[in-house]
């Protein structure tokens, strides 16, 4: 099964082993060994780059002799999605991850970092772990029959239409960049412990922590925008295990970012920060385990199958955990930091309370996410927790975090403001909070959240305007984002509603403030439902994709979203019901009978004609007992399959009429048939109809804007030394 691509991966793996040897020799200060290790690292990186280029080329040239290309691409795929199909599956996304690690390693070498040696060590080992996964299942594996017979499939099986979205081009690479970057803070923490440097490691690590928060964060946010416009992924955030497993390390890194500030200010939290840096990376690996091993496949909307990686990933997690714990314990007494201040409400202590709250929040999300695995250990019947668990949890946690944000800003800048000023702002916030909610929800928590959030936004804006240097810009921007996110979540959930409506063709229906008319289905290969959409003074002709994807053989639907300042109108097609079909089509399992108008049909069984099998033709007939006007007939409509020519229907006619009775589809293993009978003469065909779900989502752009602010805050934190 060896080919150039797989060979490149193997070579890269082999060179990585050599890199490790030279890195170990250079640890003592051997310059020659250091230069050699760098060269080897570059070499292995070049091989990986070649492998990546090869895979891109394979996708662009439709090289379906590769199983991976065959699985995720097809000839008619848009060129951009052919590129994106690179990371459409496990093998390709691992290659991307390993390659990004090479890039990060090169940056580390170029920066001539003090702890370059240990960082490269950790990067190389992590890379090897991913490379081994790729050796187990190579993206360059040939399809069965290629090597023996030179068989190349004429076309690939295509990319899942759900993934044919512009976000597919950006979301996975950014997320993987975050995963790869998370290796660096971990490496710094290990270096710090090994060199008994418990304070200086964080000077260099700080940037990388912020960079990881930035990239992983942007990756998560992009996933949110994407999930919003896909049906059935539960909106922008559904607390799905796959979503949670990226959120968990991100939250820990956010806590670490705050911990680093405390340590730089007061020299406290030395052990905490080391532990946070280590656990954030272990959690990245755990997230890989949860999403790639298939353990959660019964519990997640984004399901993943097991391909036998589990043990390997567990082994690797244990490997890093044991090393970390061992190092940590061996230096435990040496890494003692300064104690925190005694004052209950000091600036630093308030931040520590916030970190603690965030950590508990993260821990509970982690427990919820891993519950299917945890409960599987202790019980015969594993169980999962529902989004409601996270939502309930988020209320007290969110209020506490927001409350602490308000308090910490008050403690820091409150003295500069007059009591009257603060009172006025407070009163205004309360008033605005009430006004914002009053017509939409009676829930008390909505009022508490909104009031706190508005107060905090005013605090931040006033700090920005007055240029108070005690509060750093990164914190002002990011925390303003957090407050805005809270308001956005309240509005887009508690102030929003949706209705399901069956729309009969050409009949206008009123749903809240809009008028919607179903106009029928388009006649293209990838059909869409057409609607006339009236809102305010505007009349738009809109379409929502609705078609059976041939390659995946599944129904694909897309919503139409009218993005608005006050609200988004979200129109989702649920089901298209052709009027004719209601009248003429029936699905029967064996021995079952049903009526189509004046005719009673019973399905007796299959009759398979293999006579012409030699010529490559198979005929399948459905034996039917048909009763009409007290006359009973035995009819057998069928389908013939001719090699390379597809299927042809062998229709029958209902005796005494000109009405066609045909076999539309069947399933031999389930013993089911789908039958069609022409309607009787002069029957009125009912109009087509469409079932749609219309949602009104208030101020959802607050959520989008808030993510931009949080990302901007992380970016500013990264730029600051």
């Amino acid at each position: 099964m060896m080919n150039t691509g797989t060979l490149l991966i193997l070579l890269s793996l082999g060179i990585s082993v050599l890199t490790l040897i030279f890195l170990a020799r250079s640890a003592g200060g051997n310059r020659m060994a250091m230069v050699t290790s760098h060269r080897l690292f570059y070499l292995s990186g070049s091989f990986l780059s070649f492998a990546a280029i090869m895979l891109f080329a394979a996708f662009l040239t439709n090289s379906f002799q590769y199983q991976y290309v065959f699985n995720y691409s097809s000839k008619d795929l848009h060129i951009l999605y052919k590129i994106a199909a690179f990371w459409g599956g496990q093998e390709g996304s691992f290659l991307l991850w390993a390659w990004l690690l090479s890039i990060i390693g090169v940056i580390i070498i170029r920066m001539r970092d003090r702890y370059e040696n240990i960082l490269l060590f950790v990067i190389t080992i992590t890379q090897m772990f991913i490379l081994i996964l790729m050796v187990m299942k190579s993206p360059f594996a040939y399809i069965a029959g290629f090597q023996s017979e030179g068989f190349i499939p004429a076309d690939g099986s295509g990319l899942n239409p759900l993934l044919q979205d512009p976000w597919m081009i950006l979301h996975p690479p950014v997320l993987f960049l975050g995963y790869a970057a998370a290796t660096v803070p971990f490496g710094y923490a290990l270096a710090g412990i090994m060199h008994s440097d418990f304070t200086n490691w964080l000077r260099s690590a700080h940037r990388w922590v912020a960079f990881t928060v930035l990239t992983l964060g942007i990756g998560i946010f992009m996933g949110g925008y994407w999930a919003y416009k896909v049906l059935g992924w539960g909106g922008y955030w559904g607390w799905d295990p796959v979503e949670n497993s990226s959120l968990i390390p991100w939250l820990v890194l956010v806590v670490l970012l705050h911990g680093l500030i405390i340590q730089r200010r007061k020299g406290a939290l030395v052990r905490t920060n080391l532990l946070l840096a280590i656990s954030s990376f272990i959690l990245v690996l755990l997230s890989t385990f949860l999403t790639r091993s298939g353990v959660l496949s019964n519990f997640s909307v984004h399901s993943f199958g097991d391909v036998g990686y589990s043990m390997h990933i567990i082994f690797f997690i244990l490997f890093y955990m044991i090393i970390s714990i061992f190092l940590f314990i061996s230096r435990w007494s040496a890494m003692k930091g300064n104690p925190l201040s005694e004052s209950l409400l000091s600036y630093d202590n308030l931040i520590v309370y916030g970190m603690l709250t965030m950590l508990f929040y993260t821990l509970f999300i982690l427990i919820g996410t891993t519950m299917p695995v945890l409960s599987g250990i202790f019980s015969e019947q594993p169980f999962s927790v529902q989004p409601g668990y996270y939502n309930t949890l988020s209320i007290p946690m969110g209020i506490l975090i927001l409350g602490l944000l308000v308090t910490v800003t008050l403690v820091l800048t409150g003295k500069l403001k007059s009591k009257i000023y603060l009172g006025t702002v407070g009163l205004a916030a309360i008033l605005m909070g009430i006004l914002f909610n009053i017509q939409h929800t009676g829930k008390v928590v909505a009022y508490i959240f909104t009031i706190l959030a508005i107060f905090h936004i005013v605090q931040n804006i006033s700090n920005l305007v007055t240029g108070n240097t005690q509060v750093i810009t990164a914190s002002r921007v990011a925390h303003m984002g957090v407050a805005l996110l809270v308001i956005g979540i309240i509005a887009s959930n508690l102030h929003s509603h949706s209705v399901q409506k069956e729309l009969v063709q050409n009949r206008e229906a009123e749903i809240d403030s809009i008028l919607l008319t179903f106009k029928g289905i388009t006649n293209e290969k990838k059909s869409s439902l057409r609607f006339t959409y009236k809102h305010g003074r505007n009349v738009d002709e809109i379409t929502t994709p609705y078609y059976i994807d041939e390659k995946m053989n599944s129904l694909y639907r897309e919503p139409y979203i009218d993005y608005g300042f006050f609200k988004d109108v979200y129109i989702a097609p649920v089901q298209y019901v052709p009027g004719r079909e209601k009248l003429t089509t029936v699905v029967l399992s064996q021995a079952e009978s049903a009526r189509i108008q004046d005719v009673e049909i019973q399905f007796l069984g299959f009759d398979v004609d293999r006579m012409e099998m030699m010529k490559g033709q198979v005929k399948v007939f459905a034996k039917l007992k048909v009763t009409r006007d007290d006359n009973t007939y035995m009819l057998s409509p069928g389908i013939s399959f001719l090699k390379d020519h597809g299927r042809h229907k062998i229709n029958t006619t209902l005796p005494g009429t000109k009405r066609t009775l045909s076999l539309e589809d069947f399933n031999v293993s389930d013993r089911v048939v789908q039958l069609y009978l022409d309607p009787a003469k002069d029957t009125l065909i009912p109009p087509d109809s469409a079932l749609v779900e219309i949602s009104f989502k208030r101020l959802i752009w607050f959520v989008w804007l808030s993510t931009i602010l949080i990302a901007a805050g992380s970016y500013i934190a990264m730029r600051r030394d």
Binding site: G232, V301, S303, G305, T392, S589, E693
Partner: protein, 123 residues
């Protein structure tokens, strides 16, 4: 020092309480239809779509027949939208309660297990 420790203890107790409270409400065991029928509690059932029975849509609901791993069949009524890829599902997980008055399983959530985003069945 003391005040801080007391605060910390209160905080941790508070967190624990919150988590326990949210969890106890939201734990949903994996059971069969028979168990769901007997307990009447909020549970999840894993099974396959019965393809010989029609999938029905009405305003606000969507219903289909499902066969659990023990082989017993029940009509599942889902209040919500049919998930994408539903017809292509190899397995369906329905979360909800057994409704004794209509003798259906009322699911407020459906998970569809498909040949997935990351792997496909190559058989």
């Amino acid at each position: 020092m003391k005040a801080k420790h007391i605060l910390l203890t209160i905080l941790i107790l508070f967190f624990g309480g919150v988590a326990f409270y949210s969890m106890s409400d939201m734990m949903t065991p994996y059971v069969s239809f028979d168990q769901a029928r007997n307990s009447g509690q909020y549970v999840q059932v894993i099974g396959t779509l019965v393809k010989s029975k029609p999938v029905q849509h009405n305003e606000g609901t969507f219903s289909f027949f499902m066969e659990d791993e023990q082989g017993s069949r029940l009509k599942v009524v889902h209040t919500g939208t049919k998930p994408l890829n539903f017809d292509h599902a190899t397995q369906v997980v329905a979360l909800g309660n057994y409704n004794s008055s209509t003798q259906t399983f009322d699911a407020d959530r459906l998970l569809v297990k498909c040949p997935s985003k990351y792997t496909k069945e190559n058989k």
